[in-house]
Symmetry: D2
Subunit: 331 residues, 4 copies
Amino acid sequence: MVRFAVLGCGRIGRMHAQNLARHPSVELVSVFDVLAPVAQEVAGGLGVKAAASVAEVLADTSVEAVLIATPTDTHVPLIIAAAKAGKAVLCEKPIDLDMARVQACWKEIAPLNPTVMIGFNRRFDPSFRAVRDRIVAGEIGTPELVLISSRDPAPPPVSYVKVSGGLFRDMTIHDFDMARYLVGDIVEVQAAGGNLVDPAIREAGDIDTAMVTMRAACGALVHINNSRRSAYGYDQRIEAFGALGMLQAGNRTATTVEASNDRHSGARDVVLNFFIQRYQEAYAAEVEHFVACLREKKQPLAGFAEGVEALRLANAALESLRSGKTVRIAP
Amino acid sequence: MVRFAVLGCGRIGRMHAQNLARHPSVELVSVFDVLAPVAQEVAGGLGVKAAASVAEVLADTSVEAVLIATPTDTHVPLIIAAAKAGKAVLCEKPIDLDMARVQACWKEIAPLNPTVMIGFNRRFDPSFRAVRDRIVAGEIGTPELVLISSRDPAPPPVSYVKVSGGLFRDMTIHDFDMARYLVGDIVEVQAAGGNLVDPAIREAGDIDTAMVTMRAACGALVHINNSRRSAYGYDQRIEAFGALGMLQAGNRTATTVEASNDRHSGARDVVLNFFIQRYQEAYAAEVEHFVACLREKKQPLAGFAEGVEALRLANAALESLRSGKTVRIAP
Amino acid sequence: MVRFAVLGCGRIGRMHAQNLARHPSVELVSVFDVLAPVAQEVAGGLGVKAAASVAEVLADTSVEAVLIATPTDTHVPLIIAAAKAGKAVLCEKPIDLDMARVQACWKEIAPLNPTVMIGFNRRFDPSFRAVRDRIVAGEIGTPELVLISSRDPAPPPVSYVKVSGGLFRDMTIHDFDMARYLVGDIVEVQAAGGNLVDPAIREAGDIDTAMVTMRAACGALVHINNSRRSAYGYDQRIEAFGALGMLQAGNRTATTVEASNDRHSGARDVVLNFFIQRYQEAYAAEVEHFVACLREKKQPLAGFAEGVEALRLANAALESLRSGKTVRIAP
Amino acid sequence: MVRFAVLGCGRIGRMHAQNLARHPSVELVSVFDVLAPVAQEVAGGLGVKAAASVAEVLADTSVEAVLIATPTDTHVPLIIAAAKAGKAVLCEKPIDLDMARVQACWKEIAPLNPTVMIGFNRRFDPSFRAVRDRIVAGEIGTPELVLISSRDPAPPPVSYVKVSGGLFRDMTIHDFDMARYLVGDIVEVQAAGGNLVDPAIREAGDIDTAMVTMRAACGALVHINNSRRSAYGYDQRIEAFGALGMLQAGNRTATTVEASNDRHSGARDVVLNFFIQRYQEAYAAEVEHFVACLREKKQPLAGFAEGVEALRLANAALESLRSGKTVRIAP
């Protein structure tokens, strides 16, 4: 049994707390939120302690691991504090919006040799993981073309957009990590973006629609497309192509039902709309992997370095968007 | 070049005449219809002769083969006359509605050793043929369960229903032949039917909805389902299952387009609605096969015997429908 | 919180015990098995009591509901004892193999007005439930043709086959219930069966391959096909057709990945192989429904009567198989 | 009847000659090839005249239209000569590899107001045309993201690569035109390319793998990916996404058969491999459209201007590939 505390009881922290509470090899000890009533409500529902402060959580020597699901700007201080307190860390993405702060964070904690995992949950989606495993097994040869379609069902509130770090660091960061998961290191980035969904996003200084092309060190070309809105649900697909063939991972629907009538045939449900539902198995497998890493003293598949590299690609994309030039990633 | 005449210029005769006129190894010589203006119109459009009588067609020594697409009750006398005139025959199904007449027909022409092919066009559909070829190649082992779904887009006029010989001899006869094509001889037949589409069909003494279960000599169980109406188009599917797996042949749509919106995802077009369009490739391949049989002096895949056996199954199904008993087919 | 005990800790009892232990509105109190060490192992893993006897369970006034997952021949006495002890009952199918015992059971417990639910889990599968709900909503009009394909991944041990009551009462019983779930009461049954999978099943006096045709009171024709073996996994599909269109519910695969190479395109995973995995959501929803019925004092969707009617259809199919005749179901 | 001549009897010229010969409203008068025996063979097979020279074809006043299927570097002089001879022209893509020559060509023929159509056959593919028509009809709102996947089954001979003008002008040119067909004018181009298929292509100074991102005047972002090789056949797909939904057009297979076994489920055939087979309906519809334009005195959907614009995008992509910069298209 690994003993956990959860910091942050927003939508995603709450989901993690529930998953941890149900996990057979985890004991959820406590939860914390800056809004004490929220922490108390979540703690009450799960029968665990509502901690009064982060300090209380970190001082609890029975807690081995903390899951950080607080706002992005608190990630770095919490990672540092947790690592110094000897806790393993599972932190939601991104580590931070500022590369200098991210690197300073690592510099400070690296000597402690902590176990830090970043919440790139999509690496644990059964379908995406199968594509990766089958690529690694050589099924399509070296990947040559990779397409990642990633479209949110609906834009976040503009208040969130303003502090999100922008589309590339907030949303595409998952796709940057997915690209690295599938084809390894990236050496070149080109980006294009637009405002087609909501003028308020433009006014907030962000884009809502984007395409990115990247070149991997292995030679593969990678395409990402994003929209902040999708009428038919949360659209999350990948396609990998090589000399020997192609692997495609598609969307999930709530049922397998197909309807035929005088207007169409084979119509399926709209795709699963909500990220918690769409990635339910992925979130569970992510925790499973983290627990296995702790038990077996091995480094997570999505460690601090993966958080750094995904941010680097997001920054490069932003630079390319502004300059209109291909940005090379320093090795 | 094989020289052809077409007898009967209704919807299907017209289609055959056009196919034959375009066929690179066929020369269409003449067409005949009891309605002379119809024959003249078709002949004019294709630049061939409108024969004034069947006798004129059969007396034309340059004609090697006749395609019979006249009403069912004229098939037997025309087959006999054509065979006696030394012509090869491609006759639309069924041979006749009456087994005694069919057997008498064969008795009369057998000594002439004619080439007679029955228009079981579905044997030549690329998808159904592929299923059969892959069964024969052993891909699924011995077939054990076969499902045939066969639903017309809309019922024929009641005037036609009255002379059609009934659903089993008119429509299901194709499915009986398909069953034999896929699993060989049939030894038992059970049938159930209903009137769910149009009360006028019941008044005409026929059913419009049916299910048939059959046992093949090889042990396979075969299911057929029929409806005289299908909202989403002409539904024609087969499924064959054995120890090693399953083969399924589905419907065709005019395009490959799939649509996703806020109501559904992956909706395709309705399926091809019209039998001439759905089986376009099959009709062409059927003629191709007949021409190859003539050239290579071999017997057609769908000969007179196949017409006899399909009728035998239709009659057995009718008997089972009436008696509520399983009908055994004498070997 | 509904307080439960589980009777029987075999494969399916164990699964139910785990589901109940995790269920947010259930408290699992105790488990029992005739093999005490098995009960102790399951109880230990879930942190509940291993009861020493059925009597101990039924005497526990804190227990409101029992889930019966013992061998079939113990169902009737356990249902009676539980009902007399004032417990609600969720009993695995079938109630019993003998109709007289089933009817006697009901006669004995009916005056107690107990809540009894039979484990027809497939009614709670999200896809099958969606087909039913959409039929009820009128999407395809009155159903006219229903096809149920139900093929187990591999045959059970012959020792089980011998006491199973035969294919129709053991396996097809789920499909009989599904037919009633989709189209209501059945009035006629025709059956055909064969031995194509394993000669040992024939020696045990059972069939391993079957097709059934039924007529519903509403007029619909229903087809069921079964095999005790399926190379590509646990094949569970339904199709419902009416004047306005068709609804099809297909198989589930572990991932959405499709592979294309020089031999095929769009190849998906084999279908989920294990019934516990395939019907995971259905088993959870079944318990959810039972709990809701207890809370809201309403009768379950799959009550004792559904168990009776499915057995009646299984018996009718067996009679038809033996007699070769259509069997009418007395209203 | 429109009277045609075909110039060039290579693979594609031969296909066009056959289509024209069979077309009900076309009369194929003559064919020409610099290799007289080739022209004679094709002419003989179709029962038409083998012209001895281009001059002979153009001097034939009975010829109303010429189809130009000669090597690219002869297109411009032949278009000019044909236009001056008063013939309508259907010319295979590209017009020429050099923009200056293309513009000079137009300058010379524009005063003659000729009917010139460029062979962008994919505009006439039923599925791609349906996507375009449904976009125009407003089904997905203004398009925002468009993905074009276009992968040849196998690379052409290096001798061809050397004179092809490079991947963008030879192969991607179809996709550039498709982009314009779907979303209208393009204002920005970014390109990335690689050599992953065949080192000989690199030695010939060309790339064999590419991705292009474009911005349309309407705001849509367009992605194109290309490979000179595809293990599973000729991969030709488009996807268009907007505020109201998504339309996807997929590949065609020879049959509808899906196979399930112990390794996979639902495996379809590899996709149609040969461009003449894949675009059979498109080539026929292209001729149909050209004939309709001549009859109705209207300009073709794919006129000279479309050839100019597709070449402009190809040149911009090449410039972007070399400079690493986004290239703006002058309006």
